[in-house]
């Protein structure tokens, strides 16, 4: 049963994750993360109004979650070093965020309650005192610096956003492929998508389908292709 969580005011993916974990009274570990993967993905899919950059954050986390989930479904699955690092990184970040969220709650209890006032302002005794570093050129330079700093800040976020597929797109794509071809290898399927994150998403979307009984997957060798074929079910269940 999916756990309902408020979806109105989430700042980021960790908040969603922690709420889901806490709602199930679990501790932050692999098991808990595997457990909440579906609800998390549902949550991401339900959001239509994320800014592009935040969506990228949410989906990147989804990919790592699906990785953990896949391991729980296929214990033999070997993570690459990079995948392992992603999983460990996510766990550390979640643990740190858990503390930060607690800290923020503590601060919200005290912030602004008993403001310690600054000394009252006195009319300053004005003495005209220019300085050696003051010149028209220095002013022009200072303003140029301020303007340049602003531009740098404004350009940063855009540069970090790379176009990513949505989970929904990946799943739809996968479902269609499975329907059209009775047998399809995962390598073949993932060939079309170069971005590693897309491969993970497609692979794990596939695992979801496996779990839902839509297709049966057999992995013949540990690092070999995963063969996908239709099961007895007549249609592919739509995820979500």
């Amino acid at each position: 049963m999916p756990f309902n969580i408020k979806t109105d005011s989430y700042e980021g993916p960790f908040e969603v994750l922690l709420d889901l974990i806490e709602a199930r009274k679990l501790l932050v570990n692999d098991l808990a993360l595997a457990n909440i993967t579906e609800d998390y993905i549902q949550h991401v899919r339900a959001q239509t109004a994320f800014p592009v950059e935040e969506t990228a954050n949410f989906i990147q986390i989804a990919a790592t979650l699906l990785l953990i989930k896949s391991k729980s479904l296929i214990p033999d699955l070997a993570f690459s070093e990079e995948e392992n690092a992603d999983v460990e990184d996510l766990k550390r970040r979640l643990a740190a965020y858990e503390k930060v969220r607690e800290a923020a709650r503590e601060l919200s209890r005290v912030y602004g309650r008993t403001v310690m006032a600054a000394e009252g302002e006195r009319a300053p005794e004005v003495v005209f005192a220019p300085s050696r570093d003051l010149s028209a050129a220095a002013l022009a330079e200072a303003l140029t610096r301020v303007l340049a700093a602003r531009e740098a800040v404004e350009e940063l976020p855009e540069a970090r956003v790379k176009p990513l597929v949505t989970i929904e797109e990946m799943m739809d794509q996968l479902a269609k492929r499975v329907q059209s071809a009775m047998a399809l290898s995962f390598n073949e399927f993932s060939k079309e998508t170069k971005e590693r994150i897309e491969v993970i998403v497609s692979f794990l979307a596939l695992l979801e389908l496996v779990k839902q009984g839509a297709v049966a997957a057999e992995q013949h060798e540990v690092y070999g292709d995963i063969r996908i074929s239709h099961t007895a079910s007549t249609s592919v269940p739509y995820y979500g």
Binding site: E125, F128, A129, D133, L134, A136, L139, L143, R145, V146
Partner: protein, 187 residues
């Protein structure tokens, strides 16, 4: 809970200037006749502390002790003699290239709080604040004539790349006030 002398201390500290004793009594919720005792206790507790209570018949104020005059003078001199530094130069630049810039606008353009820099520039007589005729709570800052003279110009138009830089700063202020207004509506 604060004792009455401690509460009086906090009030005098926060008021930043002479406070009428009547007002002090009212704020402390004591009788005017009791103010004397409270101020006596405060005076005693501040003995040799570097700060003293200065009283007239009707008003009371905190001041630095006369023994501290030499060191306080050193502080003032160091405040005036120092280079302006990056923060104050930036603040002065935003004001110089703008026309009647407010504190909030300086903060927006710089992306940081500029109160300390503004204070430094005011004390050093490089900028002056005037009430906005349209909104009396708002202070608009501009360069003093002494500052212009020091820069060797008679008008801010003569600053290097005046048009270009003023335009860029103005564009930021406009974008920010639009964003701030939108945020307020959204709330």
């Amino acid at each position: 809970m604060l004792t009455p002398p401690a509460a009086a201390h906090a009030l005098l500290f926060a008021s930043g200037g002479p406070l009428p004793k009547k007002q002090l009594a009212k704020l402390l919720e004591i009788k005017e006749s009791e103010v004397k005792l409270v101020l006596k206790a405060l005076t005693d507790s501040l003995k040799n502390s570097g700060v003293v209570v200065v009283e007239t018949d009707t008003e009371v104020e905190l001041r630095t002790a006369s023994e501290a005059s030499v060191i306080v003078k050193k502080l003032r001199e160091s405040e005036l003699a120092r280079d302006l530094g990056k923060a104050s130069l930036e603040t002065l630049a935003v004001i110089a290239y703008g026309t009647g810039t407010t504190r909030g606008e300086v903060d927006w353009v710089r992306g940081v709080n500029s109160s300390t820099s503004l204070r430094t520039l005011l004390i050093r007589g490089l900028i002056e604040g005037k009430e906005d005729p349209a909104d009396k709570r708002r202070i608009r800052y501009s360069l003093t004539t002494e500052a212009l003279a020091h820069l060797g110009i008679t008008h801010i138009r003569e600053l290097p790349r005046a048009e270009e830089l003023s335009g860029a700063a103005k564009a930021i202020i406009e974008a920010e006030s639009a964003a701030a207004a939108a945020a307020e509506v959204a709330e």
